[in-house]
Amino acid sequence: MASVFEYAPAPESRAVVDIAPSYGLFIDGEFTEAAGGKVFKTVSPSTEEVLAEVAQASAEDIDRAVKAARKAFGKWSALPGTERAKYLFRIARIIQERSRELAVLETLDNGKPIRETRDTDLPLVAAHFFYYAGWADKLGHAGLGADPRPLGVAGQIIPWNFPLLMLAWKIAPALATGNTVVLKPAETTPLSALFFADICRQAGLPKGVVNIVTGDGGTGAALVSHPDIDKIAFTGSTAVGKAIAREIAGTDKRATLELGGKGANIVFDDAPVDQAVEGIVTGIFFNQGQVCCAGSRLLVQESVHDEVLESLKRRLSTLRVGDPLDKNTDLGAINSAEQLARITALAETGEAEGAERWSPACDLPSSGYWFAPTLFTNVTQAHTIARDEIFGPVLSVLTFRTPEEAVAKANNTQYGLSAGIWTEKGSRILAVAARLRAGVVWANTFNKFDPTSPFGGYKESGYGREGGRHGLEAYLAPSSPEGER
C-alpha cells in the first residue's frame, strides 16, 4: 500500500572548504592586521558556531586601503582593455573551478541552502565576471563616447544576503572599466569576500586593484567619508542609503544606491496557476525572503484568490526547512539574530493589526536563527506588513478586482525595485508592465537574474543600474564634451 517517501540526509561535505581561525584585511595585495588590532567573530547562522575571527578595519585602515587603490589606479586604468579582460576571465574561471568550495563557504557563513549557492549564486558570480570581461575592450561602444574614462577609486559596500554575488556585481564592472576598488563586505558575511581576495592573488591581479576591508557600519562610514574616494556603490538598507546620500552631498563623489523593496507579484485570473504558485514561492521564499527584489506582496485577482491560496498552501507544505548544507533543503536559516528579531516583530505587527497568519507545519532546528515560511491573508494597503520591507520569508496577500486597481496598488509603495505579472495574455503583460514603477518587471517568472540585464530601482529603492551595458555607466565618465563635469 501507499507509503511515505522520506529523503535520507544528503549533506554536502564541509571538507572542501578550509576556513582559517582568523583573517586580516586585504590591502595592497597582502593580508594585514587591523591598525587597532580589533577583531570580531563571524558565526554560522544555522548553528551559531563561530567560523572565524575577522579584523575590524578602522579609519586608519581605510585610509591605507584607499591609498593602495589610488596608487594602483594609474597603471590599472592605463592597461589596454584586452589586458584587463584577461584578469577578469582568469578570475571567472578560478571561481568556476572553486565553485563547490565557495558554495559551501557561502552556505556556512550566510545560512542559505547549498542548492541555491550551488545552482544560483556561484553560476551567476562567474557569469558576471565573464560578462564584464567581455566589455573591457569594447568600452568605446557602450554609448558613452569614443573613449570613456574610469572614475578612479570606488568604495563599495555590499550586503549579507548574496555576499559573493553582490561582490561580483560591484567588482566586475569596476575593474572592467579601469577603476580600482575598496570593498567592504557585510559584518555577518565577510568570509567569501576574503576568499575572493585569495582568488585575486591566484589570478595574479596587480596589488592594490582590489582591497577588501572587513568591519561594521563604522567601517563603512569611514569608507564613505574618505576624501579620496571617487564613487560609492552601495547595496543595503534604505536608511543607510539615505545617510550615504546625505554624507556625500556637495562632494564630487558619485553614487549608485541599491536599496530596499516591497515587490508586488500580480496574479491575474488567466494566469498559468501552477507556475504562478511556483513563482510566488520563488518570489518570497528564495533566500528565505532576504532579497531586496522579493515579491513580498502577492496581489491576486479576487476571482481566483481562494484557488490560488489553496494551491499555495499545499505547495508550502512541501517546503523543506533545515540544515542548509543538506542538498534537499529549500529554506535555510535567517542570517542573524538581529534580522530574525526584525522579522519576528513585523510578523507580530501583522497579527496585531488583524491580518490572518498561516504557516505550514514544520520543525525548526533548536539552535541557530530560524523562521518558518509564513503567509498573511486579509492584508490591505493600510497594514504595516504591506508597506514595510520585512526581508524575511513572510508573504502578504492582497486582492484586486481590475488591472487598473492592480497597477495602482502595486505602485502604491515608497519603493520601486521589482514586480511580477502572471497572465497568459501577452497584451496584458505589455500594458501592465509599462505602467509599473519598478526597475525590474518579470513576466510569468520571478527572481530571475542575468548579467546582461540591468537591475536597479525607483523612489526609495535607490538609483543607478547594475548589470548589462547600463552597469558600465556607473563606473565611467563619458568622453563627449557634455559629459565633462
Binding site: 507509503s3 517517501f5 522520506e6 529523503y7 535520507a8 501552477d274 507556475q275 534537499n328
Partner: protein
C-alpha cells in the same frame, strides 16, 4: 455506457461545450513547468531513501515488449523476469505488470496466472490508432477475452489536433465500455500533441471519459515521457481528484532507462501528489531496459560494489 461523473454531463453535451471547457483550463507556462521539473530533478536521494525508491520503482514497472518480432517464447521469458526480476535475490519485488500486444495477451496470462502480476495489453490499433472504431473495439475485446487485466489504448491524435474533442471523448468511452472490468490506460502520445496546453486538455478529456490511468506515450515516437509532461499530468490527476473525488493513475512510458531517471519521477510524484500515488496501483513506469539498471543499483546497495550487465538477466 459506463456512467460518467455527473459534474461533467453538461461539459460533454456538445463538441463546442467540451471545447469551451478544455480551453478554459488554466494555461501552462512551458518555461515555468520545465524549471519546476528540473528543480525537483536535483533532489539528492541517498541510502535508505534510494533503497526504498528502487524497490518502489521495480514494483511499478509495466515490463514491456511491443515488437513485431514478439513470440510466445519472448513473452514467457519476460513474464518470468517480471515474477522474479533478480533470481539471486528473492527479496526483489515483482514488477506490476507485463505489457504486450493483444495477440500475446493469452500467452502472458498463462505465464502469470495466480501471481498477482497483471497483464496489460495495448489495443485500439496501437501505436498509431489509425483504424475505424469498430476495429479498435474488436482489438480491445480480443485483449479482454484473452484475460488482460489492463488495456492500454491510444487516443486519436488526428481528431484531437483537428479539434474534434467529442470524437476523442466518445471513442475513449466506447473503449472503456468494451474493456469492462479491465483498467483502462489512455495514451495521449504527448510527443505528437506537442504543447503542454494540449497535454493538460488531453488529461482532463481522458479523465472525464473514464480513464483509470493517463499515460504519456507509446514509446514509438521521438519524444516520450519527460519529467515536465509527467509533472503536468500529475497536476491534472491531483486537481481532478480535488474536484471529483476520483483518483486516476499516471504512467510515464518510453525513454526512462536509468535508476536515476526513475527516482526523479518518483520525486515528482512525492512532491506533487504525495503518498497516495506512491503505489503501483496509481503510478507505473512503461519500460523495459529500466528494470536491469534498477537491479544493478539494487545489487550495488546491498553488496557495496557494482556488478555489471552479466549479473542481471537478459531477456
Amino acid at each position: 455506457m459506463p456512467t460518467i461523473t455527473p459534474a461533467f454531463a453538461d461539459v460533454t453535451a456538445s463538441d463546442s461545450a467540451l471545447r469551451r471547457f478544455l480551453h478554459g483550463l488554466p494555461g501552462v507556462d512551458a518555461v515555468g513547468l520545465e524549471a519546476r521539473a528540473g528543480s525537483l530533478g536535483t533532489r539528492s536521494i541517498k541510502t535508505t531513501a534510494k533503497a526504498y525508491a528502487i524497490d518502489l520503482a521495480i514494483s511499478m514497472i509495466d515490463l514491456t515488449t511491443l515488437e513485431g518480432a514478439d513470440t510466445p517464447g519472448k513473452v514467457r521469458a519476460l513474464a518470468a523476469k517480471a515474477l522474479r526480476p533478480d533470481p539471486t535475490d528473492r527479496t526483489t519485488p515483482a514488477t506490476a505488470a507485463v505489457c504486450v500486444y493483444s495477440d500475446m495477451a493469452e500467452t502472458a496470462v498463462a505465464a502469470l496466472a495466480g501471481s498477482g502480476v497483471k497483464v496489460a495489453s495495448v489495443a485500439t490499433a496501437f501505436p498509431a490508432g489509425r483504424a475505424s472504431l469498430a476495429v479498435k473495439l474488436a482489438d480491445t475485446r480480443d485483449a479482454v477475452a484473452a484475460g488482460a487485466d489492463e488495456i492500454d489504448m491510444v487516443i486519436d491524435r488526428g481528431a484531437f489536433l483537428a479539434g474534434h474533442y467529442l470524437k476523442v471523448y466518445e471513442e475513449i468511452r466506447a473503449v472503456k465500455e468494451a474493456a469492462g472490468a479491465a483498467r483502462l490506460k489512455v495514451i495521449f502520445e504527448t510527443g505528437e500533441l506537442s504543447t503542454y496546453d494540449n497535454i493538460r486538455r488531453a488529461s482532463w478529456l481522458g479523465m472525464i471519459a473514464g480513464a483509470d490511468f493517463i499515460k504519456t506515450s507509446t514509446g514509438k515516437v521521438g519524444v516520450n515521457a519527460t519529467p515536465a509532461n509527467t509533472l503536468l499530468m500529475l497536476e491534472a490527476v491531483r486537481d481532478f481528484r480535488a474536484q471529483t473525488g476520483v483518483q486516476v493513475g499516471v504512467k510515464p512510458a518510453g525513454g526512462i532507462r536509468t535508476s536515476k531517471d526513475a527516482v526523479k519521477f518518483l520525486v515528482l510524484v512525492n512532491e506533487t501528489v504525495g503518498a497516495d500515488w506512491l503505489d503501483s496501483h496509481w503510478f507505473r513506469f512503461g519500460a523495459s531496459s529500466l528494470l536491469n539498471d534498477l537491479l544493478m543499483q539494487r545489487q550495488k546497495l546491498s553488496t557495496g560494489r557494482y556488478s555489471g550487465p552479466d549479473y542481471v538477466t537478459v531477456d
